[in-house]
């Protein structure tokens, strides 16, 4: 356990020094600030383009700002996370940097779990700061904002990407190459999205946590609708992490 914390600390420093954490933080913050601005300016941008046809654009509301936020986070940030973190484990093993740590008594499971923990801490920190910034900026531009179920809608997306991190780490110990990890993790996500087209599955899929946010904000869905999905997501994430630790324990290096 002691070594797990030491390695987690090393990982956090590494996220800072190799700019991965900073890159993630910056991108997430930029989207947090751009989303309400884009929502506010969209009608003006449309009106400035003279297409010869007069069309009516409704006045933007805070709902548009939230829609922008969730769309950006769901697509671009997810892809960014896959790219940033897929090579993390493979790189240490292929380069051999971790061999000396193992020879110093670091256990395999502590290694895998520390990798996840550091990524998750960085993600959580970036995300919740971004949520704060987003809320503040939206408040400034749309002082009458009245989102329903704000915390659950935000937590849902946070959990989905936490799940993605657990998935990436599990895929990493199965694959020896970062691109295979990307294909595996990306493949699973696509499969989950496809499965989401079957109504009977929706409640049990982590990916639902990235689709349900606007319904929560507008009030067409309630918190009670997503508790089950959240529980499944947390459960599956834990299973992935335990499996990653167990598989890696048996893996020859």
């Amino acid at each position: 356990m002691r070594r797990y914390w030491i390695f987690t600390k090393k990982e956090l420093i590494e996220q800072w020094k190799n700019f991965k954490g900073i890159a993630l933080g910056c991108i997430v913050l930029i989207f947090a600030m751009l989303s309400p601005v884009a929502a506010k300016l969209m009608p003006e941008i449309f009106q400035s383009i003279d297409v010869g046809v007069q069309f009516e654009i409704p006045e933007p509301t805070f709902v548009d700002a939230y829609a922008q936020f969730f769309k950006n986070m769901n697509q671009i940030v997810m892809i960014l996370i896959v790219f940033l973190f897929s090579g993390n484990i493979a790189q240490e093993i292929n380069q051999g940097t971790v061999l000396m740590m193992f020879s110093k008594g670091l256990s395999r499971s502590a290694f895998v779990l520390a990798k996840f923990t550091a990524q998750w801490v960085v993600w959580s920190l970036c995300y919740w700061i971004a949520v704060g910034v987003f809320w503040g900026y939206t408040q400034y531009l749309f002082p009458d904002q009245a989102p329903m179920n704000f915390w659950v809608a935000m937590a849902a997306l946070w959990l989905l990407i936490s799940f993605l991190l657990a998935l990436i780490n599990f895929a990493s110990v199965l694959a020896n190459q970062s691109y295979i990890t990307m294909i595996l993790a990306g493949g699973v996500m696509v499969a989950l999205y496809i499965a989401g087209t079957f109504p009977i599955m929706v409640d049990y899929l982590p990916t639902t946590l990235g689709n349900v946010n606007m319904a929560l904000i507008t009030g067409s869905a309630t918190n009670n609708d997503v508790w089950g999905t959240m529980a499944v997501t947390v459960g599956v994430s834990i299973v992935f992490l335990l499996a990653a630790a167990l598989v890696f324990q048996k893996k020859e290096i």
Binding site: F7, T97, S103, I253
Partner: protein
Amino acid sequence: MTSEIVSIRSVSRSFGDLKVIRDLNMTVREKSVFGFIGKNGAGKTTTMKMILGFLKPDAGSIAICGEAVRYGNTHTNRMVGYLPDVPEFYSYMTPREYLRLCGEMTGLSPARTKARIKELLPLVGLDGAAKRKVKGFSRGMKQRLGIAQALLHEPRLLICDEPTSALDPVGRREILDILANVREQTTIIFSTHILSDVEKICDTIGILNNGRIVLEGNISDLKDDYRSDKITLEVNGGESLPVFVEMLTSLASITELRQENHTFRITTSNLPETSTDVIRILNESGVQLRKFEVQEPELEQLFIEVTR
């Protein structure tokens, strides 16, 4: 009798259909510098990785200081310092930061770590580069930092996997000097295929061939065992040379005699007797001696002989 640091009993290991290690038995005794010799691909790294618990033996058992090595569980590694063949470090760290991380990992107190770093950086010649990032280090510097991290917690066993193979002559010399310096403090397993390195610092060797130890023991004992009973003799010429040659040819213990000008290559069935006789007839014939050499078997000869 000194105690056993590493004992490998009947270990086998295959990769697919390829049997790399077959029924390997090997013992490394305390405070020895054990040269683990084998051709490329003989299974040296595989054996070392099994000692470290990174690879699982198909059969057999390995113990470090009497404690069984368990695969995937690195508990026995607290007694081991490991230097991989091409050590790689977190490139954004300085040697000091890296050694501090290693100290924390092995459970040394911060004060002890600091003291050890102060001792080790000069020992490996990196005190001038203590604040530089590892990123710009040469291979030799990385190898030296590798030795420092391996020695940090004062392990009872230091495992070096071909530490000199990838280095230039100066780098090799430096590593050998460092290892020679620490031989008093720890037992060293030194894998290599460079036999001159072995002759420089090892006192015992094990030669690995086809997955088995084919020759093991103290280098000087082995050389005695394999002594070829060959004498090379060089004399000054002169009038008495024909007399000397005649007397030499008449010696019964000489089985083969070859003459090239003033140099004689003698093979004998009885080395002490021939030696005494040669000295006697040198005296009697009045021929002046330039060189008398009982040929030592070269490690290379031994190696070629046992791995043939």
